[in-house]
């Protein structure tokens, strides 16, 4: 039972890690390798606001999300725009920017025992004999809300539809008056905001450390690749596979093997079915 529940929570956490990454990729085809860095950056922004400016967590959390979104937006205009359309240069630039952010944070001293965001509600309940804290239930709920909200947003709002048009065909989108650079920048801003939201709900589970950024990136990549990039269904499937895989590996093989699961999954999927579980035919052709 605990396997079931904690597997679910682990999966939702992975989905939260990934949702911003795959939104950005789905809309503008940009694999944002600075995703993990933005995630943890938002955590430290919130922490700084709380501790330096003395704001309550609710306010600083929201501010952190907005600031991260703005950083994502600026990031596009300052850096990505100049290498747009060269996938490899995009990858290297985002990756390098992410590593630079993480190393700068380490250098600034955001590495230690005192960085932690408070949980929303203290305490916990018992479900079917398994102890679970309210924060994890909040993570579960927000994961659900975010995925559904994203679906509604993409399918039922004007800007969401513009996003979809863009995702399907950039040239057509241009011809009906959708500015691709704006959409690209917005997609990165939304991706960054989602990363920040994930950070706000997931980070209170533990303490913060700049190196989390690397892990988040790898988890996001693992989920996105295993499920098939940019497919929402694939993202959900990917996070469940890896999430349960990790918990099961920890329980039945040995806890050390948890970290191997996502890495092995990436390598396995890319070498066997590069388009991922729910990837479409088109992607397969492009990748191989």
């Amino acid at each position: 039972m605990s396997l079931l529940i904690y597997g679910l929570i682990n999966s939702v956490i992975l989905a939260l890690y990934t949702v911003g990454f795959s939104l950005t990729y789905g809309i503008s085809g940009l694999a944002n390798f600075a995703h993990g860095a933005l995630y943890i950056l938002s955590g430290f922004v919130a922490w700084s606001l709380m501790n330096a400016a003395g704001l309550p967590f609710a306010v600083s959390g929201i501010l952190a999300v907005l600031i991260t979104a703005a950083i994502g937006f600026a990031f596009y205009w300052v850096l990505i725009l100049r290498v747009r359309g060269i996938p490899l240069a995009e990858l290297i630039v985002t990756f390098a920017a992410g590593v630079a952010i993480l190393e700068l944070m380490t250098w600034k001293g955001f590495y230690g025992l005192r960085y932690s965001l408070p949980v929303f509600v203290n305490g916990g309940v018992e479900i079917a004999g398994v102890g679970i804290d309210y924060q994890r239930l909040i993570v579960l709920a927000s994961g659900l809300v975010l995925v559904i909200g994203l679906w509604l947003f993409v399918h039922h709002t004007r800007i969401g539809l513009a996003f979809r048009a863009m995702a399907q065909n950039e040239r057509t989108a241009l011809s009906i008056g959708i500015e691709s650079d704006w959409i690209g920048a917005l997609s990165l801003a939304f991706g960054a905001a989602l990363a920040a939201i994930a950070a706000m709900v997931v980070l209170p589970l533990g303490v913060m450390e700049s190196t989390i950024g690397y892990d988040v990136l790898i988890y996001a990549l693992a989920v996105a690749i295993v499920g098939g990039l940019e497919s929402t269904l694939g993202m959900i499937a990917g996070s469940f596979l890896i999430g349960y895989g990790q918990i099961a590996a920890a329980r039945y093989i040995g806890a050390k093997w948890m970290v191997i699961v996502p890495l092995a999954a990436i390598v396995f999927v890319l070498s066997v079915k590069p388009s991922g579980i729910f990837g479409k035919f088109k992607e397969l052709e492009e990748r191989v």
């Binding site: 605990s2 590495y111 025992l113 005192r114 102890g131 804290d133 994890r136 589970l205 303490v207 806890a255």
Partner: protein, 429 residues
């Protein structure tokens, strides 16, 4: 391409500025102490602060007497990067070597954070013949390598505790718990790195010998972020005690919070930095109550009434830097190391490494962490008996005081204890 050229020349200018030596009008040549360590880990950061504090004190008194002349200390630093095991060891060695060849330190203190860097760096230090008093890494691998060629490695000393000592303290506490409260189911979790594994291995072996039932013994990778498998297993199998050894902040923090959240009805004991830290209540919330942790050696972050020196050191530290050290480990060792070095220099009256090493061997210094002498393997003698005879550690528990505020209360050994071990109410039947 003018812009590109400008950027490049800019980078080069910056480089030149950085390498240019800063001129100093020093009349007396200072004694240079090198501090190569992972400056961004709490251990390295606070270790450096402790060193600076000691140096300031010594210099205020006019410095160290070398022969007839009084010379001040000067601290030079090098960042060996990374608290995680995945930062390159070669790079750390390079930083070490740069420090040694460029700054020409007369001695090195603090030293590596990760055991593998300490051990890999031993050859380097021996090659350049620089006395080194390392104060962070706890791996017993040090002694093992030392004994292979004691002559070659004679410049290397370790001032702080060894994982073996830490484990003895915990084992003795386990004995008390067993006797006093009749606990018998234990679960061990450790960070899958060398010293932590050695540490927890000693604990579990001791438990096996003394009649505990070991329900689980799990190594988690240093980057682990979910401990629910172990915690749910512990919960299901009615574990009464969880032993945990960890040093990377991240995993320990998640564990501490998750342990509290999942309400595992077991007593927590071990070395969990965020939980032992003076800031634990602020960082992790009230869930830390009743958890027990070791501080090695004494004086790292917890002022003890029965050892006034620890209080002195920590109040000076707090006055200088505005807060207590973050981690409940090794800070007092870094402070002591500087004094031990000064002491040895004054005794031998020379900075010659061979003479200095010989003088260090004869060290007998009453420091913050107890009386420091070195054994044949060049590690400081630590024990559980008497701070006047050896270095000591302490085990404390988070308890509520009369005002309901959470405080760290020393509970073991008896000569340091200020309170009794309390069993959480949810464990009493």
């Amino acid at each position: 391409m003018r812009r590109g050229a400008m950027i490049f020349s800019g980078i080069f200018l910056l480089a030149i500025l950085v390498v240019l030596p800063t001129s100093q009008a020093a009349t007396v040549k200072p004694i240079v102490i090198g501090v190569p360590t992972s400056l961004y880990t709490p251990f390295g950061r606070d270790g450096l602060k402790a060193v600076n504090l000691a140096v300031k004190e010594i210099n205020a008194k006019g410095g160290v007497k070398v022969g007839t002349q009084r010379r001040p200390f000067k601290v030079v630093i090098a960042d060996t990067r990374g608290g995680e095991p995945n930062t390159p060891v070669h790079d750390a060695l390079m930083a070490y070597e740069r420090l040694i060849t460029k700054e020409k330190p007369d001695a090195i203190v603090v030293g590596a954070f990760r055991s593998e860097v300490l051990i890999a760096g031993m050859d380097l230090v021996a090659k350049y013949k620089i006395p080194q008093l390392s104060t962070i890494a706890q791996s017993p691998g040090f002694q093992k390598k030392f004994m292979k060629d004691p002559k070659k490695y004679k410049y290397l000393f370790r001032v702080t505790t060894d994982a073996l000592v830490d484990a003895t303290y915990l084992n003795n506490t386990l004995d008390i718990l067993k006797k006093k409260f009749g606990l018998k189911n234990a679960y061990f979790i450790y960070q899958d790195t060398l010293w932590a594994k050695a540490f927890s291995g000693l604990m579990s072996r001791h438990c096996k010998k003394t009649g505990w039932k070991i329900v689980g013994f799990d190594g988690y990778a240093a980057g682990a972020t979910d401990f629910s498998p172990a915690l749910s297993k512990a919960r299901e199998s009615k574990v009464q005690l969880i032993g945990m050894v960890w040093d990377v902040p991240l995993g320990a923090g998640v564990f501490a919070k998750q342990y509290a959240a999942m309400k595992v009805p077991a007593l927590l004991i071990g070395f969990i930095p965020p939980m032992a830290s003076p800031m634990a209540v602020k960082t992790l919330g009230p869930g830390v109550e009743y958890s027990m942790s070791i501080e090695f050696p004494v004086g790292a972050s917890l002022p003890l009434k029965k050892l006034p020196k620890t209080g002195d050191f920590l109040s000076k530290f707090k006055k200088e830097y505005g807060a207590l050290p973050e981690a409940a480990a090794v800070n007092s060792s870094a402070y002591d190391a500087v004094f031990i070095l000064a002491n040895a220099i004054e005794r031998t009256g020379s900075l010659n490494p061979d003479k200095l090493a010989a003088a260090l061997e004869k060290t007998d210094y009453a420091g913050v962490s107890g009386r420091i002498r070195f054994n044949k393997q060049h590690i400081a003698v630590f024990g559980t008996k008497d701070p006047k005879k050896e270095g000591v550690c302490v085990i404390f528990q988070w308890q509520k005081d009369s005002a309901g505020k959470l405080k760290r209360v020393p509970v073991y050994p008896a000569f340091l204890a200020e309170g009794k071990i309390q069993l959480p109410p949810w464990m009493k039947k």
